[in-house]
């Protein structure tokens, strides 16, 4: 439905402006290229299907509302020049001030001039102007926009996306554009440092994002090393594979962006990922082959008497095997092997990136999966309202232990924390406010002390004369 509406908007948005009214640099011939680049860059992911903005992007510092990037002159970017557009994308500087790096300009900085111009052409000529004024971003002190200047000095290298690897050949070059620049994959898949910058030394090694685990996508065995090119390409294009499915935010990335790329571009992404330096992730020890213990049928089939109605209707059990059978086996099979054809995946290949993958499993149990790729709508229902946190913990523990072959001891509190979706916030960021205030106080005190000392010295000297 939404993709149809977007398509209609795009068609409708092809306003034939008289040549004089077209912004300088915006070229009709580049609009289609710009549209494709916008899909690959997933601008709609933050700025909305119609690009009118307003959607909050959760960050540990606060919600940032993406701006209106339609060509509306009053509330959008209709009055921006090509140069201003380019600076926003590649330098993080908008006409009204610095952009926060929630806008991934540290990735988009890799765009070439012609790509910038194509995007500009698309947004000026191919997108319908919508009047919408998103909420202003009032991030708390000390994260004023001017504070981004020193941050950019430290962490932005213009023209070079963070972590971009050396490439060989056209395909890897194209892949690097799609992964590091447009795809800004490292915005989720790289961990962040003390000042919330992407850690280039752990580029694409995996990170927790709002309670979900964005996995290691380097070619190490603890990343995607065990995936064939074909499987990886298929996963990117459809969100589905027998080694894992795209859920949560990745599901929307697949639906909105990756599934709409050309097969050649998907192959290029795969080729580039193979070229990125391998990162090793911690992994729980796991049996080489997981053979689930044979179903203890008598244990999971507990009869109740007709008169024992409270037991029949009570639904607070914490027994993971019972919960699995009752809530999950109708799709994933009594033995966890999934359904024929594996549309409902086997749970035996639950991977084991330490506690990180437990987070994804908990999120999927709670929220389900909702992913539309073309005509195919994949849907797993959410269970958050049918199971309490302790039950989700028991269920996740059962699945990881019984089918994944790893130890798992999640508690209610763990589940609550995962579902609260807070990303780990570096201490520097969390205490930035008090720290800056302290720094200012110390500086002022220091100034005061210094000037008092100077005054004393001066008056003493005066006194000695």
């Amino acid at each position: 439905m939404r993709s149809v509406m977007l398509g209609a908007a795009l068609v409708l948005g092809q306003v034939a402006l008289p040549a004089a009214a077209q912004p300088a640099g915006a070229q009709p011939a580049l609009v289609e290229q710009g549209r494709y680049l916008a899909v690959a860059g997933d601008c709609a992911g933050c700025h909305g299907e119609s690009f009118k903005g307003g959607e909050p992007v959760a960050t540990p510092i606060g919600a940032i509302h993406a701006s209106n990037i339609t060509p509306d002159r009053a509330s959008g970017i209709g009055s921006w020049s090509l140069g201003q557009f380019s600076d926003a994308l590649r330098k993080g500087r908008a006409p009204e001030g610095h952009l926060y790096p929630a806008m991934p300009y540290t990735a988009y900085t890799g765009l070439s001039d012609i790509e910038v111009q194509a995007l500009y052409s698309y947004f000026m000529l191919g997108v319908k102007a919508v009047s919408n004024r998103p909420l202003a971003n009032d991030l708390p002190f000390p994260f004023i926009r001017a504070a981004m200047a020193p941050w950019d000095l430290l962490f932005l290298t213009e023209g070079k996306p963070t972590g971009a690897a050396t490439v060989h050949g056209e395909q890897q070059l194209r892949g690097r554009l799609l992964v590091e620049t447009l795809g800004h994959c490292s915005a989720c898949h790289s961990p962040r440092g003390t000042m919330m910058q992407e850690r280039a030394d752990r580029h694409l090694a995996g990170a927790m994002v709002a309670g979900w685990w964005a996995p290691n996508i380097t070619a190490d065995a603890t990343g995607i090393g065990g995936w064939s090119d074909k499987k990886l390409a298929s996963f990117l294009a459809t969100g589905h594979s027998d080694l894992g499915v795209a859920a949560g935010e990745m599901a929307t990335v697949v639906s909105r962006s990756l599934s709409k790329l050309t097969p050649g571009d998907i192959d290029a992404i795969v080729a580039y990922l193979r070229a990125v330096p391998k990162m090793v992730s911690p992994k729980l020890l796991r049996a080489a082959t997981v053979t689930a213990s044979p179903l203890d049928i008598a244990a999971i089939e507990q009869p109740t008497e007709l008169s024992a109605w409270q037991s029949q209707l009570g639904h607070g059990t914490r027994q993971g095997d019972v919960l699995y059978q009752s809530a999950c086996a109708s799709c994933h099979g009594a033995d966890g092997n999934g359904s024929a054809g594996l549309v409902h995946p086997s749970l035996h290949l639950i991977d084991s990136d330490s506690t990180a993958n437990a987070a994804t499993l908990v999120q999927v149990i709670a929220h389900g999966v909702d992913r539309t790729v073309g005509a195919r709508h994949t849907f797993m229902p959410p269970f958050r309202s049918d199971l309490d946190d302790g039950q989700i913990a028991s269920l996740a523990n059962f699945v990881r232990t019984e089918f994944g072959g790893v130890g798992s001891v999640l508690t209610d509190a763990d589940v609550a924390e995962i579902l609260a979706g807070k990303s780990a916030t570096p201490w520097l960021i969390r205490y930035a406010g008090p720290l800056v205030i302290a720094a200012i106080v110390i500086f002022v005190l220091g100034l005061f002390l210094l000037s008092w000392k100077v005054w004393r010295t001066f008056t003493r000297r005066l006194a000695r004369r």
Partner: protein
């Protein structure tokens, strides 16, 4: 008619308990020539005897000890002289040996009746008679996952509440079925094969066949128009 008959099966692989029993047998009864059909003797673990008998009767060598224990506890109080009859049945199986079919066909009528009394709860998954319309009856649940009626057709028809495949998987011919040719479009609900515009009057001999009393399904099969 296309389905394959269920193959006759010898007893399956030894369980741990049966291995233990065999070792005990070997010391106690050296000369019984049991090599072809390992079976627990009644003198040892009675629940293993029931499990063994159940596996022979149902032809399913994977029946679990847990459910067998549950079922035996229910049958012991419902069938008079249960232990003696079980004993007798196992003796008969031992005496005949060989395949499931060979062992079953050598049973006396009374033994067959007892074997059926064991078979029924294995096939249906409960003992007693359930009521569909009142919450009071003498039925007691035994098993669902090991209820053999569903198990016997599970290759063609998934067990209810468990998954088949993706949405809409059921419009293809079941496994093992050689589907007759049908026109393109038969899967569409708006498709209608040609034919008379409205319902025809029934052929009198088919009407007579439909309304005649038939003593059994086999009798009805024999009486079908065109069958003899």
């Amino acid at each position: 008619m296309k389905q394959m008959p269920e193959p006759s099966q010898p007893l399956g692989p030894l369980t741990v308990t049966r291995r233990r029993v065999l070792q005990a047998l070997a010391t106690l009864v050296p000369a019984m020539g049991l090599a072809t059909m390992p079976l627990a003797t009644h003198a040892l673990e009675a629940d293993d005897a029931f499990l063994t008998a159940s596996r022979v009767i149902t032809g399913n060598t994977t029946l679990s000890a847990g459910i067998a224990r549950r079922m035996m506890a229910l049958l012991v109080v419902r069938i008079p002289e249960f232990a003696a009859k079980l004993d007798d049945l196992l003796k008969a199986f031992r005496a005949t040996g060989g395949t499931r079919e060979e062992m079953l066909s050598a049973l006396k009528d009374s033994q067959v009746q007892f074997a059926l009394a064991i078979a029924q709860p294995w096939y249906l998954g409960h003992v007693g008679t359930p009521s569909d319309f009142v919450l009071k009856d003498d039925a007691v649940f035994v098993t669902y996952l090991e209820a053999q009626s569903w198990t016997k057709i599970v290759h063609e028809v998934p067990r209810p509440t468990y998954p088949g495949a993706d949405a809409g998987w059921w419009d293809v011919a079941p496994p093992g079925v050689d589907a007759p040719a049908m026109p393109e479009g038969i899967k569409e609900w708006t498709f209608h094969p040609g034919g008379p515009a409205d319902i025809m009057a029934p052929d009198p001999k088919w009407k007579a066949y439909a309304t005649a009393p038939h003593a059994s399904i086999d009798a009805a099969r024999r009486a079908k128009p065109g069958s003899t």
